[in-house]
């Protein structure tokens, strides 16, 4: 009998073990739902799977009475647009500032303290100021995501830039490169795959800020819908929406990972 830490499950066992807790969670939910329904057949907190299915059909496949749109897809489109713009802008800022502060000591000295302070501020509390500066439309939602995510990206990429072997900078200089050339040809391409990794890490926060911003003022979006139907506790809509968000988050994560592997084979192989 091998030691516990040496026992490797076969790939079948592994798949089985991996699915088991998920199935258990579903069963527990089903049981909870049944118990509550037995008490009040109209209970909304833990809807049955049939109700969830109906709600999904309504949201995803039946055109809305008011606008004739398929609500769930419209919501998804709006939310993804916000999320992607926010994350893309944050990534651009994170990359630029992180790279420059990491590469140029004078920049680093002047910006690192203020970035540390910014990264510690809880952005939700400053919404009013944000509104005044960026208005209350799409811009402010995107900005909230940017503010929520960019400081982390900047700090992470600053760190990563500093971690690149000093030898490479020296080598570049002996090849006659000036500062700009070093940044563009040596540092930037090596930081890009790290940007992908940082963005993957920050996606959870980005979703949080997206949902929060959609709760503030909007007319569509996944977060908007969740907050709206919360007004009559339609968990039959909220739960599948949450599941859908989770799935989207998972897909985006996979996409980024695969993209990074495609674009930067040298990075992933070297690790």
């Amino acid at each position: 009998m091998k030691r516990l830490i040496n026992r490797q499950p076969s790939s079948v066992t592994r798949a089985f073990l991996g699915i088991l807790p998920l199935v258990l969670a579903l069963l527990v939910y089903q049981w909870g739902s049944t118990v509550r329904k037995a008490e009040n057949p109209q209970d909304k907190l833990l809807p049955g799977f049939v109700e969830i299915h109906d709600a999904m059909e309504r949201m995803a496949l039946t055109p809305s009475k008011r606008t004739g749109e398929l609500l769930m897809w419209e919501d998804t489109k709006s939310s993804l647009k916000r999320l992607v713009s926010g994350v893309a802008i944050a990534a651009a800022i994170g990359l630029t500032v992180g790279l420059l502060t990491g590469a140029i000591p004078l920049f680093g000295a002047s910006l690192t303290p203020v970035i540390t302070v910014i990264s510690l501020i809880p952005p939700m509390a400053l919404l009013p100021i944000l509104f005044i500066v960026f208005g209350i439309g799409e811009v402010s939602k995107v900005v909230l995501i940017v503010i929520g995510v960019a400081p982390f990206l900047i700090r992470d990429l600053y760190q990563r830039t500093c971690e690149l072997p000093r030898e490479q900078l020296v080598k570049s200089m002996t090849l006659g490169a000036n500062s700009g050339q070093i940044i563009f040809r040596v540092l930037l391409p090596q930081i890009l795959p790290r940007l992908f990794a940082s963005v993957r890490l920050s996606l959870g926060a980005a979703w949080l800020f997206l949902i929060a911003s959609e709760a503030v003022a909007s007319t569509d979006g996944l977060g908007y819908r969740i907050f709206l139907v919360r007004r009559y506790m339609s968990m039959d809509v909220i739960l599948p929406y949450v599941a859908w968000i989770t799935l989207l988050a998972f897909l985006i994560d996979c996409l980024l990972q695969q993209g990074s592997k495609r674009l930067f084979p040298w990075y992933h192989a070297a690790k």
Partner: protein
């Protein structure tokens, strides 16, 4: 044998601050003791969350408006009774336009409000009053916590909301109140709602609450320091609280509330609200029409008598009026 214990939740609003005072001054405990029960009073900041908690069964009583009582617990199959009718909004809810001065000007604007709330209902009534409909405006869901800040931006030109936000917004330049709840008196009602089943089983719970409430009312009406206490607890001060009270029709006397509940107007109001709620899909997907949920008032039942889920029951307030508690 352990005492029966009950839980009540409320959220910060001018008409519900008495619950805070009742809790911190010990009046509620006093009345609970009198009826040999325990009552726990819990403040929940998020109004919707408090109603959701009540609907899910975590609380026995909850302060909410008549419309939310219908659309959340009742529509969710939770048979509820309006035990106390505390007040109705008499100007506390308002539609405000920036720069424009008349309700007709709202046509074509984006209106920021908490969607599907009483503000939404107020807007519908305001539009009705000048022959417009919801199609003439675009509704933008805006959380109440951010309403004041949102109004500060240039994009927001019209809001429908409640106090204290109304007062804050009116204090900002170029704001005009073009419609308010004093033009639809008695339609937006603040209630204390309890589970009907619980009330039937434990009348003592109802009696204790009503008894406590009217003792608080007496103090509140007579004692400025009590009102100041409530004002501070709501994050404001006496002056601001008084100005909110001025646009609230409080039923300090139980007799007034009983009379209000007995009036046939109440049934009509609830019918309007049921229509509005049905139009916005608030009565649930299974509801074929506005009458799907029965609403019982002393003046008669509106809607499906076989599915009564919201009851206005003046009996307990009557006991208070008769000094029998």
């Amino acid at each position: 044998q352990a005492k029966e214990s009950f839980k009540l939740c409320w959220s910060i609003y001018v008409g519900w601050m008495p619950w805070e005072y009742g809790d911190s001054s010990g009046i509620i405990d006093k009345w609970a003791k009198k009826y040999d029960i325990d009552i726990e009073v819990v403040q929940i900041n998020d109004y919707i969350e408090s109603i959701n908690q009540y609907s899910a069964g975590a609380f026995d009583a909850c302060a909410m408006t008549n419309m939310d009582a219908l659309t959340i617990p009742s529509a969710g199959g939770v048979d509820s009774t309006a035990l106390i009718v505390g007040d109705f909004s008499n100007g506390n809810d308002a539609v405000i336009l920036k720069e424009k001065t008349s309700i007709e000007d709202i046509k074509g604007q984006r209106v920021n409000l908490v969607e599907l709330s009483v503000s939404h209902y107020l807007l519908a009534r305001a539009l009705d009053s000048v022959g417009l409909s919801e199609r003439d405006v675009q509704v933008v869901n805006t959380s109440d916590a951010d309403m004041v800040a949102a109004y500060g931006t240039d994009q927001v030109t019209a809001v429908s909301t409640w106090n204290p936000l109304v007062n804050e917004i009116l204090n900002m330049p170029k704001s005009n109140q073009v419609f308010d709840s004093s033009q639809i008196p008695g339609e937006i009602i603040d209630l204390l709602v309890v589970h009907t089943e619980t009330l039937d089983k434990y009348p003592a719970f109802g009696k204790a609450l009503v008894g406590a409430w009217y003792e608080i009312m007496e103090k509140m009406q007579g004692d400025e320091s009590v009102r100041e206490h409530m004002g501070i607890a709501s994050g404001a001060d006496l002056a601001r609280y008084e100005s909110q009270l001025a646009s609230t029709k409080m039923f300090y006397q139980p007799g007034d509330a009983v009379e209000f509940v007995h009036s046939p107007e109440l049934k009509k109001t609830m019918a309007d609200i049921a229509e509005f709620s049905f139009d916005h899909g608030l009565l649930g997907e299974g509801a074929p029409d506005a009458q799907f949920i029965g609403i019982e008032t002393p003046a008669g039942i509106y809607g499906n008598a076989a599915n009564v889920m919201l009851r206005f029951n003046p009996e307990y307030m009557q006991l208070a009026a008769d000094d029998k508690l």
